[in-house]
């Protein structure tokens, strides 16, 4: 799998961007951090909109910037699709002409994405002849995404494309972004400071703080890392799982999900068997039992787990990192920790009281 390598060390009047990242070019990589942490600047450096004096960027085997040989390709020579915070549509063109602006400038043999395909995924067929100022904010941003896609980019950079939209429009657009990624297989770098968006979209996270990358890793590993999960302000997250739909138990109104050999029951889902669904488990919905229960229990979701790490959060509660094939965090009381005598390495059973579905948690 190809990687994106990037090294920048730039001083701006107000802050210092110092990053050295190596990101696999598959899936959606979120660049996450608080406002002012340098996310947009990092994206602009990757695109060549800012030129870092000693910067280095390599995409797969192609060098985009290598200051040791004085190389820095301008953005128009990089196979990047860029969606800005604001749609930046061209007001003197209608929707169709905006969509075709980049398309026409890509050599025919390099066009891999068709207009109909993009129009269909983004649901903008009815807007094609409209003037730009007749579109809503959400529609404009969808056109902006479509316009970027039609350059058949090898990398799509999205700079908080939902930031300027209200909650309803955000919810409308998120599935489009997920879908375009799944259908078109273009690696995406997605800048955001909104945890909710990252929970829904990201496969991987680059965590930025004050201009420095403090951690990079798979989304679930980052969210369950007792060291880093605080940075997401999402202390309630126990795990995010991309689980396969294993079966539908119609007589009970349940759907069975499968991941890493473990099973979970959730309310019935309108998703075909074999499809992947993203589900969340809240850490407060996980309780721990020392042995396999002898007496029958009404709890459906019981998973075998090993204790990896224990971190005391405050006087009352502790977070326990478990391994259930993937990482899972349980938040329990300190009293329970002491009573059960839990230590790293112990094998326990995790009772999952509820599984949240994607939309429920982020809405």
């Amino acid at each position: 799998m190809s990687h994106l390598l990037a090294r920048f060390d730039v001083r701006f009047p107000t802050f210092h961007l110092e990053v050295d990242v190596d990101v696999p070019m598959s899936g959606i990589t979120a660049i996450f951090g608080p406002s002012g942490s340098g996310k947009t600047t990092l994206l602009r450096c990757l695109a060549g909109l800012e030129r870092a004096p000693n910067g280095f960027v390599q995409f797969g085997t192609d060098a985009w910037q290598d200051e040791t040989i004085g190389l820095c390709l301008p953005l128009y020579k990089r196979p990047i699709g860029y969606v800005f915070q604001e749609p930046r549509l061209f007001p003197h063109y209608n929707v169709r002409a905006n969509l075709l602006y980049g398309y026409k400038r890509v050599p025919v043999e390099e066009r891999r994405i068709a207009i109909d395909q993009v129009v269909d995924i983004l649901g903008i067929g009815h807007l094609l002849e409209r003037r730009i100022h007749k579109l809503s904010g959400g529609e404009q941003q969808r056109v902006a995404i479509g316009r970027a896609l039609l350059t058949s980019p090898k990398l799509l950079l999205l700079d908080e494309p939902l930031a300027s939209l209200d909650i309803q429009r955000k919810q409308e657009l998120l599935p489009f972004i997920r879908r375009l990624h799944e259908e078109l297989r273009i690696p995406v770098m997605y800048v955001s400071h909104a945890v909710a968006e990252i929970l829904q979209l990201a496969d991987r996270v680059v965590l930025l703080k004050e201009g420095t990358v403090i951690a990079t890793g798979a989304l679930n590993e980052m969210l369950t890392s007792l060291k880093f999960r605080g940075n997401f302000g999402a202390h309630r997250i126990g795990a995010i799982l991309d689980a396969r739909v294993a079966a539908h138990e119609e007589q009970y109104g349940l759907t069975q999900l499968e991941f890493n050999g473990q099973h979970l029951f959730v309310p019935p889902q309108p998703v075909a068997v074999g499809q992947i669904m993203r589900v969340h488990i809240l850490s407060s919905d996980v309780s721990l039992v020392l042995g396999k229960p002898i007496a029958p229990t009404s709890v459906l979701n019981i998973l075998e787990a090993a204790i990896v790490e224990i971190r005391e959060m405050d006087q009352t509660s502790v977070d326990i990192l478990l391994d259930i094939g993937v990482p899972l965090v349980a938040s329990i009381t300190r009293k329970s920790l002491v009573t059960l005598g839990l230590k790293p390495g112990h094998r326990v059973f995790a009772h999952i009281k509820a599984v949240a579905l994607n939309e429920e948690l982020t809405a």
């Binding site: 695109a47 909109l49 301008p74 953005l75 128009y76 990047i80 699709g81 860029y82 800005f84 604001e86 749609p87 930046r88 549509l89 061209f90 007001p91 003197h92 602006y101 980049g102 400038r105 890509v106 730009i132 100022h133 404009q140 316009r147 970027a148 350059t151």
Partner: protein, 224 residues
Amino acid sequence: MGALTDMHLSALWVSVRLATMTVVVLLLVGTPLAWWLAHTRSKLRPIVEAAVALPIVLPPTVLGFYILVALGPHGPLGRFANLSLAFTFTGLVIASVFYSMPFVIQPLQGAFEAVGKAPLEAAWSLRASKWDAFLTVISPIALRGYISAIVLGFAHTMGEFGVVLMVGGSIPGQTRVLSTTIFEHVELMEYAQAHAVSAFMLIFSFLTLLTVYIANRRFPIHVS
């Protein structure tokens, strides 16, 4: 009120040619300069802005005097051209370029500032090279600025008097323009003819400004 005669038509033709040439030169020189002024962070910017704006406040005679000296056989421009450009049409164009510069640069600069760099970056991200992006995105969005620049530059050159008299004299068919014609009529006490030309200039100027203001409504600068 006397009618416009052949002499007037000849002067009108010189005026129109002069204004057209001046605007063309100013658009070519002024576009990069206005772009630079709109986007530079250089400390030279206020100095250049002040220099560009000078003709607005300077007595035309002062500007005319220095241009006359520069164009003369011993001035830098005259020596460069290896002949005196004073009292020639070319000299008049050079003088008008300086004199009308703020009226072309300032609307362009304002339009470029309003458009900003955002559409340009968007165009680059869509594989447009710098020239391509400027021609297909920036200029159309800055259209209002161009209309103002062209109309004001043209009209202001048509109306110049002091600089023309200093640099061009009033040679019929070459450097005699409408505004200097009025002056000569008055000197000869031909009030009726002075009145005819003046009225023409008045109406012309009003219609010009009217065009600018209508265009401003018709082509607002869109910033998405």
